[in-house]
Symmetry: C2
Subunit: 456 residues, 2 copies
């Protein structure tokens, strides 16, 4: 939904080139709200409004625009103005944005950036997309350890406007090796002892990541230790950047969405659902749907093998979907439990024995419940069938099958994600579709075997 | 995995009552690491080690223990010592902990807490578990608006040790009504202008939540506006607390896990997978498995209705599982896409027309792909069957069915979560199980109808 509250006024001010009112407008409200009120404008109108804010504010508002609008503005509006804005953005946002801008436009913008920003941009772009290096910003607060608390605060007051957070202040030596960290809170609460050295105040046992570490490791550490930001170092333990909590939150949300989509057999989308093209969407779903279809078609050939039995006991066919879906649902539940437990960090591959025992027990309980219902249902539906009734063990076929199918579904559903994890594959990517396929085939084989043993 | 690196040394120091070494140990390392090294100790050993740290450090280490260990210590160790620790914990952590402690123990501990903390605890416990009030802490940095920057920093340096974050400092009037916010960064970078009033510096257009708002609203706002913390007010806009980024991160992770479990038909677990009792696990899964089973048993009665047709064309039975699973998978994909898009905020119920059109198109594309494979497979498997071959339209039954089943699965799978959302129900809770049930029945009805139209 686009917020249209101020749209007519904004358009009028733009048409009249009413600089005074536009300036009033952009300074009166919170930048986040402003960005919302400007959603109804097209990219060049929005850009024109922005020109009435000073650079710092222009940047704040711009950062609240949607990613698509940001890209559109960068690609279509005057290069010099865009470059001025880009030069002032936080380094990590700049890299993320230019990653999605057409390469020709980037080539045109690069020479317009100040040399420092240009070098940094090229360096940050060299990190793998999923690495800590690609998530980090290089604008962090750094001080040297032999400063006093008073001098540190003065140094910080000069730097404060240019850094992304002053919650942590990193203490480095002359070669930028990371030595420790002090919090702004510690500095402020030591104001009474202004001659204390930063080196005596700092915490030296640090939680940090290497720039080449995966983003999963970043989210794990930040969540585990409740950090506001995590320092990023290179192989020589030199401080190269920090990753702040907001980027971690975005990464966690992205991980969760990717996992959910992968569990449903969709290759993760790069854009929002509504913004993904139909052919891309069909492709991302089609791959898995086809793989699943191949697995399902094995059920057809399996059933074909048992054709003579099925013709003899035609009433068995009626329960095939029910049995397969019970096994599939049970397996799906187990797989999801194991995958979410591994993502949240409460379970590792080494626990597999415990998992098997648990799933065996739970599977037997669940199987017994369904067997009770299934036994009643199958008896009611087939009691009028003379081909069924003449068999002594006929009422037991469905209950026995259900217990076995539900239990084996639970065990298979829990073991497959663990197996994929052990092999170094993403459990979320592979397991649910596989579980579905395997439990379907298992279900039919178990059903037919039980039938042949109980019926004659 | 329990870290046992220092376990023998720790046990030895405890046995020898070596206070000096224990004190060395607890002060040498980062509290988070210490908590890990103490995982192998039992609750009373861990508690004894903690006694060698001063209160502030004891509290830091304690907060890194697992939730279960914290509860065990509170319930089993000496009440006076526990009360001293509890009195000093952040208010939100205290409430969360006591929520899981046996009621008798809480009753014994309450009188041991200072009157202020006791009152606050009782007040916080009154908020609904999913509300902003239950997530917040009451230890925030507050200053009055007529203070100068210099006085504000002095006031802050006194408060800094007792508040959860000084990233934002909230500006209030005499009755605690929230007037605005300044960041520590703003204060520090205004050190050059010490006589500036806080009221002139503060931002007044605030993003805030009411204490009774749902936690979903909290995560949405913090994510949308990249906040470090969000202020919580009561109905008179009085500042009653703040929610910090670490609690928001926990809430987002919890939401994602709950959603994934609900989408697989599991009532969300309260504990980690390995810590949930088997009967609880069976119960949380059994409810949905039974509901799904009832839906699946409808397929049995539906198939029963078509029995005469199926006896005439026995080869049709072989493809039932394949057709049902294709429809189910397609529906499952659509439901997951819609649910994750709604959770991430990129889709609302009003977009339903767009969604239907998109799913119709994608469904047709996917259906066509599967129909190609399905057509070949069904022809190969049935070409030797005289009952099939004598029918003119026989090779078209499976392809036509697949196109219809996959398309209707996609449309139903996308509309059901939107419908549940519209009705005020949680889309993640209801849709995938429903989608599975509905698409199974739809699949059979479509298959049988197509067969009757094409075969004679």
């Amino acid at each position: 939904m686009v917020n249209t509250l101020f749209l007519p006024e904004l358009r009028e001010m733009l048409a009249e080139r009413n600089a005074h009112d536009l300036q009033e407008f952009v300074t009166a409200l919170n930048p986040a709200r402003l960005a919302e009120y400007m959603e109804g404008l097209d990219a060049s109108e929005a850009w024109e409004v922005l020109q009435h804010a000073e650079l710092k504010l222009r940047e704040d508002i711009f950062l609240y625009f949607t990613h698509e609008r940001q890209i559109e503005i960068i690609e279509t509006q005057d290069r010099a103005g865009v470059a001025e804005l880009l030069a002032d953005l936080p380094a990590d946002d700049r890299v993320d944005l230019l990653h999605d801008v057409q390469e020709e436009v980037v080539e045109e913008l690069l020479p317009l950036l100040p040399a420092d920003e240009r070098r940094e941009l090229l360096r940050l772009r060299a990190y793998a997309p999923d690495s800590a290096g690609a998530m980090m910003t290089t604008e962090m607060a750094m001080i040297e350890e032999d400063l006093s608390v008073r001098d540190a605060l003065v140094a910080l007051s000069r730097e404060a406007e240019h850094v992304e957070t002053i919650y942590y202040i990193y203490v480095v030596d002359h070669d930028l090796h990371l030595r420790g960290v002090v919090s702004a809170r510690q500095l402020v609460s030591s104001l009474g002892k202004p001659d204390l050295k930063v080196g005596d105040l700092m915490e030296t046992d640090l939680i940090l990541v290497n720039a080449t570490d995966n983003s999963d490791e970043v989210t794990r550490l930040v969540e585990r230790y409740d950090l506001q930001a995590i320092p990023v170092v290179d192989n020589q333990r030199r401080l190269v950047g920090i990753i702040t909590h907001d980027d971690v939150l975005d990464a966690v949300r992205q991980e969760a969405t990717d996992d959910a989509q992968q569990m449903a057999g969709i290759a993760p989308l790069e854009d929002d659902y509504l913004k993904t093209g139909l052919v891309t969407l069909a492709w991302k779903r089609g791959i898995w749907l086809t793989i699943l279809f191949v697995a399902a078609s094995v059920t057809a050939t399996t059933l074909d093998n048992y054709e003579s039995k099925l013709q003899k006991w035609a009433w068995l066919m009626m329960f095939v979907p029910m049995i397969m879906s019970s096994g599939g649902n049970s397996g799906n539940q187990s797989a999801t439990l194991i995958i979410t437990a591994m993502t949240a960090g409460g379970l590792s591959v080494k626990d597999w024995r415990k998992v098997v025992v648990r799933e065996l027990c739970v599977g037997l309980m669940l199987g017994t419940i369904l067997a009770t219902f299934g036994g009643i249902l199958s008896t009611v539906l087939t009691i009028s069938d003379p081909g069924a009734r003449e068999q002594f063990y006929w009422p037991f076929v469905i209950p026995v099958t259900l217990v076995l199918v539900v239990t084996s579904g639970a065990v298979a559903g829990s073991l497959l994600p663990l197996m994929f994890k052990r092999l170094g594959l993403d459990p979320a990517l592979m397991s649910n579709p596989f579980v579905a396929g395997i439990s379907d085939i298992l279900g039919i084989v178990i059903y037919m075997t039980v039938s042949m043993l109980l019926l004659r």
